[in-house]
Symmetry: C2
Subunit: 446 residues, 2 copies
């Protein structure tokens, strides 16, 4: 993308309304625009990151064998009366009356609707296991929306629902989600720690939240510092192998890690003092096993191998897709701007032309653009007629992890400059070598 | 995808509520489920086609140089008061009051919001031309939602908005949209004819609707039959070249083609009688030039090269993404089911195993699956323990354009069978050749 043809409305000033760094940088980098309290437009740069995050979520759900579909944003109230949650949910539920005076709502979550889909079409254990998920806009009418996309009212969530014939199978689905989520967050460059949590309005017995440590987090968390060293890395996990999946979960959940809701001070004291940590965390996902809570209330049953009919065992599993942008920025920035991890960056690399209009420099930039694009890496090429300082400031603010700077002096010596946004280190090398280096960096994370 | 692990709830019976063939087949093929009047869940097969259509739209908008973003589904009422449409819009607008008693609405279209984004960030002709678009869920509270996704209340639309410094530039944007839409529909296997139309509540001077001829269409149309022979084909159009783009538009809009709203009986009579046709059509898109209607009302101005300040010239351009599934099926089906064009098919090819459990047949199917997947063509493999007749009926219903049938008798002769869903013609060939043939077919449409 050529910046002269793009829509990247960066702001020079810090917006007064933004209290935390991710909100500030998302506004300054032209990623979002507030349209009403807690309701945002995703401007082109923000939209690209949102799509990138969605894509990683889809890929990891596919790897776990989970099936995508899409439920609508609006739901009939009657469905929620079946579970009893229509009255329970309170003012956070946005209630709507249509022209025919039918009661509707903007879905804050989808347990009822997915259970309705299941009961309409599935009646035998032979069709199980089944996990269905979607990535769809939700609405929760927060009393005090704040922190930009971190606590918005209209927000994008991945929510998935497993249907299993018995508790053992449902717990395997729970574990499968945990592993797929660990891999999802790692690909986004995040350390998200699964912590034993409280089930809240979804209900259920087993639940873990995934928390990213950040000073601006809303939750207080307590953990053994060794838990932050755990990595799934590139190991292959066979999602059909219950024991293998359970072993990974055990590795990630044995060390102490809890939110304040489930914190056990006595148990915490047993951790060696130097590893005993308390901090703030941002919740970026949660998994639940809740058994037959919804299937019993809504009559979603299956015939078992022995011919009896039982309510199906379920769980639900969510990732806060839009909120992840905020969490990633909270964990990856400096005083110049955002530092995107390669996995989610809106453009693979920035190209800065130091002398727009100079024939040799323009054509080197065009060649670089072409070479990167041919390798499937879309660059953002700052081809504007601007000072070098302004171009660098924009690139630093929007946080592309790699920048290639092209100018007449370097070209005279046959080199361009490759700069890491994270370390700030620059290296001179030939144009071809710069392309190869960037290609190699992205090949390693693919 | 292995069918034994998929969620494809096909129905044997014709659903009583479906009056037109696309609605009937979408329900029977397990593509959609109605959740409320005019509100649907997109089950996994339907979701795949929806995503495929979205992808084609995105690719063709990128080719035309248009920039994607994403606006929210809910909008503040005050924005619509600025244009005067809040009161004009009537009962089709779904009005919502939030917990703070603020007036909101579920966006039926986005002229006001995109103009708000523009005026907040752009003030110079130097940032033009600019075309921004999104693909987002909309809501229109239709009095009588019907025909499945063809006239739903919650529906997915691509809507794009151009911003230009003068009328000539805005008309070029209009033409650019026309060409990009022609290419978009052709890639979906559709003949969509641009017809001079009426501007309705959007307002504006110039507008064309794109109509797919189908007996179940809601619009009456009148055209010169020669217009149905026009094809954009694989020609390259330089979207920056105003004359080249205008020439394509002239080619597609010179022959008579109008909806009943703009029909001119006297002019129609001048067409040779054998080419004079009237028929029904399904509207799948519309482009508008409306000049400064919104920019004047909302104060969206730019400084021109001579230093004066003028309201920006605009147009809006829409594609009915979710409705396209219905239109494609109306135009591509037979009495056994859907016949997907290759461009939008949910899976590239179906694999039917005639003897599940037979070692040689199972391993040939696995090899076939592997070979197709390695070429980037995802097959749907019917690995269920079912009769051949039932497997064929399902494949015919869901309409994958190509089927490879694998059985012990064929394998004994070293062959599998490749069948075209459209022609019904089967050919025997080696497994490798079947893979090559399918790869070649999809390479040709890429």
């Amino acid at each position: 993308m050529r910046l002269s043809r793009y829509f990247l409305p960066v702001l020079k000033e810090n917006p007064a309304e933004a209290q935390i760094v991710s909100h500030r940088y998302m506004l300054r980098a032209g990623m979002i625009k507030q349209q009403a309290a807690g309701i945002y437009s995703w401007l082109p740069l923000g939209y690209r990151v949102l799509k990138r995050i969605e894509q990683i979520v889809h890929e990891e759900q596919a790897r776990a064998g989970h099936i995508p579909l899409l439920m609508p944003t609006l739901q009939p109230a009657d469905l929620w009366r079946e579970s009893g949650r229509y009255d329970d949910y309170g003012q956070e539920m946005l209630r709507i009356t249509d022209r025919q005076k039918r009661e509707m709502l903007y879905g804050p979550t989808n347990e009822e609707m997915i259970t309705d889909i299941f009961r309409s079409h599935v009646s035998s254990y032979k069709d199980l296991p089944l996990t269905l998920y979607h990535i769809q806009w939700k609405f929760r009418d927060e009393m005090r929306p704040r922190f930009g996309v971190m606590r918005g009212r209209e927000f994008l969530m991945k929510d998935g629902y497993n249907f299993d014939v018995d508790k053992a199978a449902a717990l395997h689905a729970y574990n499968r989600h945990m592993v797929s989520y660990l891999r999802t967050y790692e690909r986004m460059g995040l350390t998200a720690i699964p912590m034993r949590a409280d089930s809240g309005p979804i209900g259920g017995d087993d639940t873990h939240e995934f928390l990213v440590l950040a000073a601006t987090g809303e939750s207080e968390v307590f953990y053994d510092s060794a838990v932050t060293e755990l990595k799934l890395g590139s190991r292959e996990v066979d999602y059909d192998d219950r024991e293998a999946v359970a072993a990974v979960c055990a590795e990630f959940t044995t060390l102490y890690a809890r939110t304040d809701e489930t914190h056990d001070a006595a148990l915490f004291e047993t951790i060696p003092e130097e590893r005993r940590k308390s901090a703030r965390g941002i919740e970026v996902g949660q998994i639940f096993y809740f058994g037959t809570k919804y299937s019993e209330a809504m009559g979603a049953t299956v015939v078992t191998p022995d011919g009896s009919r039982v309510p199906v065992e379920m769980g639900s599993h969510g990732i806060g897709v839009s909120r992840l942008l905020g969490a990633i920025i909270e964990a990856n920035h400096d005083d110049k701007g955002i530092i995107w991890p390669e996995g989610v960056t809106p453009f693979a690399v920035g190209i800065v032309n130091l002398k727009q209009g100079d024939t040799a420099t323009d054509s080197a930039c065009a060649a670089l653009y072409q070479a990167l694009t041919a390798k499937g890496l879309e660059p953002l090429y700052d081809d504007r007629d601007e000072r070098a300082g302004a171009k660098f400031a924009t690139m630093d603010l929007i946080g592309l992890p790699w920048r290639i700077t092209v100018g007449p002096r370097g070209l005279g010596n046959g080199v361009v400059e490759l700069t890491s946004r994270r370390t700030g280190v620059s290296e001179e090398m030939s144009l071809e070598m710069a392309v190869d280096r960037v290609v190699q960096i992205y090949a390693e994370i693919a």
